[in-house]
Assembly symmetry: C2
Homo-oligomer: 185 residues x 2
């Protein structure tokens, strides 16, 4: 499975592509950071990010796009910009029929370090080890994008089981409703 | 000038187009609300909103897109969805070379009612009067989209003067820097 990981942001947006193999095997194919100038109009910044992500999607043709779920807890203004960037990135994948999955920062940290509250340095160290990189990916946004893709690969079997269970539950609900309707008729 | 006004949102997104004439003259050309189901995946909801906005942009060919500037003050989760929707809408305009302007809710309320803290009912009443509509636009998102477009038309001369003053100041800075450099050489 080929996964594109994205750490969304207006000033710096981390992009990565990794390929998963047997078990927990993961190989880094590409990683980079898109930057847009803060004095540029918002719509132009979103256009730059969208164009770059579309180019990556068309070049790497990932099966899934894994993106960070943003919360408005910390810096509200930054969070809004991050959400706007995340919106155009999710849209680019949806336009190509590519599945989009959101992972929270603590899910990503837990997946790669075993600790949902790990700091940036720990995430970078583990990403470097897991992917057997010759040097630490910088800036942190690049490491985060790789961590997101790894997180998705490793959580994918669990996500698939949950989707299956959800589908079975929905089917059971429909059967129950149909029988109830038949019994009342 | 033809202005498309957008009140961004995932569940309900208000869209309007108005044409401004001499002085404060404004005519409503179209108004509608796009809805996306809350149980649909986020990327699909963004795709529906983007497709609809692109269709409006291509049909009405506005000179400007006026959109609400979202703040994360109130409901953080709703604000994130609103920002994601706003992002894909601004992107659609940027792709077509259409200027995007953001107006805060209080700027919009002040423009149409004279009171930056007016409630939804006051905004709807004034929008109905200003545009001489036969009935009040519903839901509130439709009225808000019209209010945004009106706000942009009426603030446009001021925005243009500010942009001109900003350009002159930038030119003056460049001239000063150039003379400083020449004096030092």
């Amino acid at each position: 499975m080929r996964v594109m990981g994205v750490d969304p942001g207006l000033t710096r947006c981390g992009l990565s592509v990794i390929e998963s193999g047997k078990g927990r095997q993961v190989i880094a194919l590409d990683v980079d950071v898109v930057r847009t100038p803060s004095d540029s109009p918002l719509a132009m910044r979103l256009l730059t990010i969208s164009d770059t992500v579309e180019h990556w999607l068309d070049t790497h043709v990932p099966d899934v796009l894994a993106i960070e779920r943003v919360f408005a807890n910390h810096n509200a203004n930054t969070a809004m910009g991050t959400a706007q960037a995340g919106g155009v990135i999710a849209l680019a994948a949806a336009r190509r029929g590519i599945d989009v999955h959101f992972h929270t920062p603590s899910e990503v940290k837990a997946a790669v370090t075993g600790n949902g509250r790990a700091d940036k340095a720990q995430v970078t160290t583990m990403v470097t080890k897991i992917l057997a990189l010759q040097q630490k990916p910088t800036p942190a946004d690049a490491a985060d994008a790789l961590a997101l893709a790894i997180c998705h690969c490793w959580r994918a079997p669990m996500i698939a089981r949950m989707a299956e269970a959800e589908a079975k539950a929905a089917e059971a609900r429909r059967t129950y409703q149909a029988r109830l309707k038949a019994a009342r008729a």
